[in-house]
Subunit: 373 residues, 2 copies
């Protein structure tokens, strides 16, 4: 049996693929002349941050302040918290800064900027602020032409806080599945954040950081003129969601769930795995372009892709696999193991507290990760 | 601010509602003359098991062996592991039994039964086995009329292992949304497992346990003749999935996620919360009957339901709420808090390591829970 030391379900991370994915994005960022600030929301692992920085990344991005604290404890100080700031979380930001974090926060709201400016002036804490703009994703962010953009820059620049620059995220690049469409969104993303930066500069403020990113636009942008940094995360491991959008090949996916066959329901035409909704997540992001993939692509335990075999449905602790024909019961007897390539790596990894690192086909170690808030 | 001591997103468990839900199922089981063996896959908390046992439950059900170990450490010995047994997990079962667990395992496969019988006879460990039958859910389980059912009973009965009985789960009761349809499935569930038990008894084997259950069928079964025990879990807290199926009222849902408003994207017509796909899960089980509910029903921080306000989409750390009209921006300013009633309690709770217990409107304590495998 492969990986006999592992109890299933558990998470595998293939080091060779991870390092190749890291090198690919770093080379692209270098070629386009921007710094890479990888998003650790996917891996949430200090060892992953180490590998990224060693490969040329400058600083990291996080999605929770708990991640910021974890990475700080592991020696990573240059951190951008790229989720809209809630005033109630400022004490935690202050605490992280007091412990040595060079922490950047962001907002798209004038009222929040006023609170930050006031708190900074009262406490003397030099909070570092980015303003978020919306380049078409319709999540967070001001419109690049909004007046509020200038008012926020003014509020911060006239306080003890520091105004650093502008940030955007082209989450809508996940809505297309061909590189020419991604290239167009990448240019839309670039244009929006540069336009916002230009307006703020014209109003008399220094804009040091002009930041953008998503895995699809990060990989397929042709020009990043006016941009200082690129943020992206899931490219480190990829997943079936990215594969379904043409962003990566299935063979490049570095993350998988190792599972055991626990049942054959021949009357229902299915094999049951011990990896269900909790072990895989209920993310169905690949549905738009590859609905057949369901909750994951199945591979043999050594990672060889098994054509047309997918986790077709899940319950809490069961993955249901519709068999291709009755021969599958012989190929995958009870007790045998299968790997599953996840739909959405960030969601799947969050169910585990560590990665089992696969190097040269064997387990070479464990990388711990942080979860929760 | 309500619950000022809490950092968001975090999980709230309302004790009064929990206890009322526990009492409702216990009273129903008592009325029907069956023992209740609650499924702890939802709450995974020792304090919850304590409350259930104190209310009359006999033993517990778990979905992972890690849960079994956790509950054993907290003094709960009578445990059924209701997921198909993988032979590779037998050493962990043996270890739990050696530490004092009265652990019941199950299979629906003759090969697995042979392995268990052989291991039992070689080691002298008296593994206790239930056979799973499929009553229409099409997940695990043999058909009640299958020959394999008798062969497994024979294998086990002729070994050092113990054959305990038959078990089924009417997961397909989640596919309907009215009590008369649920009642029919409850009778189908009862009939299937009783039929299997009758066949095994007729073949000369003692069947002590005849076990069934799901929250819908558990609550709406009218007759459980021939049944010895009922298993169900999510009834303890309910969720919007159960509400969408008419199994509970929204007001009976005891679990919620406390979140903070972190953004207003007025151009996109939405409020952003700091509870996204990880904090809520990406479960969309309520879609079949109430697609408008999306990723959760929104309530004010004190738990009052806000009509027609839902988490309409999620990204990893953002919950997106489509506003009803522009007045919502005034009602829910940035920094204010909202509660979210989850779609699927078992999936949502798994992102957290504890519950904040709400009693009389204030936080009275924390209950830890176990996650992972």
């Amino acid at each position: 049996m492969i990986f006999p030391e592992l109890y299933t379900p558990t998470l595998l991370l293939e080091k060779e693929k991870l390092m190749a994915n890291i090198a690919r994005m770093q080379a692209h960022a270098d070629r386009l002349g921007v710094q890479l600030r990888p998003h650790l929301k996917t891996l949430k692992a200090a060892k992953a941050a180490e590998a990224l920085i060693a490969s040329g990344a400058r600083g990291i991005t996080v999605s929770t302040l708990k991640e910021a604290g974890y990475f700080l404890e592991h020696g990573f100080k240059d951190i951008t918290y790229a989720v809209g700031m809630a005033p109630a979380k400022l004490p935690e930001v202050a605490s992280l800064m007091a412990r040595g974090a060079d922490l950047k926060i962001m907002t798209d709201n004038l009222e929040v900027a006023r609170v930050i400016a006031t708190e900074a002036s009262q406490s003397g804490i030099g909070y570092k602020l980015l303003i978020e703009v919306d380049c078409g994703d319709n999540r967070g962010g001001l419109q690049p032409e909004s007046e509020e953009l200038l008012h926020i820059a003014e509020q911060i620049a006239n306080s003890a806080a520091h105004f650093l620059g502008i940030l955007t995220h082209a989450g809508h690049s996940y809505g297309v599945n061909n590189t020419s469409a991604i290239e167009k969104i990448a240019e839309q993303e670039r244009e929006a954040v540069v336009r916002a930066a230009t307006r703020v500069r014209a109003a008399g403020y220094v804009v040091d950081t002009v930041s953008l990113g998503s895995t699809p636009t990060g990989l397929y942008a042709k020009d990043l003129s006016g941009i200082t940094e690129l943020r992206a995360g899931v490219y480190t491991v990829f997943d079936m969601d990215q594969q379904s959008r043409g962003v990566c090949q299935t063979e490049e996916i570095a993350l998988s769930v190792l599972s055991t066959v626990i049942g054959h329901n021949k009357a229902a035409g299915k094999i049951l795995l011990d990896a269900g909704g909790l072990a895989l997540s209920k993310d169905r992001s690949a549905d738009k372009f590859r609905p057949e993939v369901g909750y994951g692509q199945i591979c043999s335990p050594d990672g060889t892709i098994i054509p047309e075999l997918y986790v077709t449905s899940v319950s809490q602790e069961h993955g249901h696999v519709r068999v291709r024909d009755v021969n599958d019961y012989k190929l995958f007897p009870i007790g045998s193991r299968l790997r599953i390539l996840p739909i959405h790596a960030c969601m799947t990894a969050a169910a585990y507290d560590h990665f089992n690192i696969v190097e040269n086909g064997v387990i070479s170690g464990k990388w711990d990760r942080v979860n929760g808030w």
